[in-house]
Amino acid sequence: MSSAAVSLRDWLLTDTPASQSQAAWGRRYRLWRDFRANPLAMGGLIVVTILVLAAGAAPLLARADPSAQDLANRLAAPSAAHWFGTDELGRDVFSRLLYGGRITLGMVIAVVLMVAPVGLAIGCVAGYAGGVLDRVLMRVTDVFLAFPRLILALAFVAAIKPGVSSAIFAIALTAWPPYARLARAETMTIRGTDFIAATRLTGASATRIVFLHITPLCLPSLVVRVTLDMSSIILTAASLGFLGMGAQPPSPEWGAMIATARRFILEQWWVPTIPGIAIFVASLAFNLLGDGLRDVLDPKQR
């Protein structure tokens, strides 16, 4: 190991950190080390990273234009020219997969970015405030929680026009309640602790207490939940696509790819199956990542 790397590690692991940032980075490094010891979790992380990078670099990695049709060459088997073969309109499946990844992963990230902060805020506020505010917020949460995710998404998307942004919004509507519930439960536990009492005794306002002191403690469970949820969001997005309610043709969204090619499953099996495998792999990778995160984040801090 190079001396620079060794001294960086020492800097991170020292038990007398000399600054706030050194202490914080030391903590993150220790978490990373524990995470790294879990091979399945690392596998999940690697796969997720590859997927995200591949989707991001789609224009560079794609061998062909995903909408370029070549009807003479339709339903071709995987070959050197087309790594995953071509679909029913002669389009390169590999390139469509990459661009489809952009859509699917993009949808998932968009949903999570909308849903996690909102759920966290609502849950923490409800948990800390208690009383009427808590009851009102929780009843609102209950209403959204009661809807089956896919059906509400379908109804929503059908009411507005089908498309990626409607799908994102529809999924977000049903995805936020569990985070609010989770944040509320954590907040209610934390609310009674001595250190929050001590913070109240500094004269801090309720807003400050909730957002500076309580929210950071809810983050680990939230992060774990988000990661595990990602796989289910992928499946919902793909289902919407499959039902024609998400990304519209000729968009290479993975679910839509399966839908349009499903009649070829017996003979040209690669056309619907490969996007299916992609969905499965993405989902599984997020699950393993989430499990690994939970092992690392939860027991330590409790």
């Binding site: 038990d15 007398t16 950190p17 000399a18 600054s19 706030q20 050194q22 202490a23 903590r27 602790t193 001595d194 250190f195 009492a197 001590a198 913070t199 109240r200 005794l201 500094t202 004269g203 801090a204 400050r208 002191h213 950071p216 403690l217 801090q301």
Partner: protein
């Protein structure tokens, strides 16, 4: 400095404190002893503003206290809790925990004040950026005391501050509290179930039983067995019986 008259407090649906009255002169210490469930901690929490469900009169330096406490109150009155681990935010370094009172009250010169606070509670500067789980019990309690002192209060409410500590660490913390009181002219209101600890630090002691303050006496009277109430006598007998040689 502190005047409490006819205090009744409800806690978790129970009438935990029943008609308690006492006074603490400025710069002095008043100890409240009793068993678990006697209501002693509840008195402290009511005075600190953590428990708003009380009736009676409570005065700080002549000023009557209402149901809600203003920020100014917290500059004058602070509290040290029993469990040193539970009273520090697990994700905040010592530095962050100590700067919080300063940030809330808008007090400047944070760096210098933190270093001074650490020195005052005899903590080395090397602990400044550690997390609570990286400190020993005694160190955590010192951090809790330092935090209480950041806003330069006049009154410290001490809720069994040494009950969770080893005896050697307890001695250090009690000495520290005595030194701080002398140096800063602090007024202490201390709660404990340990009679010897209370008598060591507090010249006046109130004994609570079942929510009522059954006796108030000086530490001197307690030591020399000039006691009125049988419960106090029982507590004293127990304490002296179990003392070392």
């Amino acid at each position: 400095m502190i005047e409490v008259t006819g205090l009744h407090v409800r806690f978790e649906g129970v009438h935990a404190v029943n008609d308690v009255s006492f006074a603490v002169p400025r710069g002095s210490s008043f100890g409240i002893v009793g068993e678990s469930g006697s209501g002693k901690s509840t008195v402290l929490r009511a005075f600190s503003g953590l428990n708003p469900d009380w009736t009676g009169t409570m005065r700080l330096a002549g000023m009557t206290l209402g149901r809600q406490r203003e920020k100014q109150f917290f500059r004058r009155v602070q509290m040290v809790f029993q469990d040193p681990y539970g009273s520090l935010h697990p994700r905040q370094t010592v530095d962050r925990a100590l700067s919080e009172p300063l940030l809330v009250h808008g007090i400047g010169d944070i760096e210098a004040r933190i270093l001074r606070a650490l020195a005052e509670v005899a903590l080395p500067p090397s602990v400044r950026f550690r997390y609570p789980h990286e400190l020993s019990g005694g160190q955590r309690q010192r951090v809790a005391i330092a935090r209480a002192l950041m806003a330069e209060p006049e009154v410290l409410l001490l809720d069994e501050p040494t009950s969770a500590l080893d005896v050697s660490v307890q001695a250090e913390v009690l000495n520290l509290l005595a030194d701080l009181q002398q140096r800063r002219g602090l007024t202490y209101l201390m709660v404990s179930h340990n009679l010897a600890v209370v008598a060591h630090l507090c010249p006046m002691i109130g004994v609570m039983l079942g929510g009522e303050m059954v006796e108030q006496l000086s530490a001197d009277d307690l030591r020399n067995n000039r006691i009125a109430h049988p419960h106090t006598a029982a507590l004293r007998a127990l304490s002296t019986e179990l003392e070392g040689p």
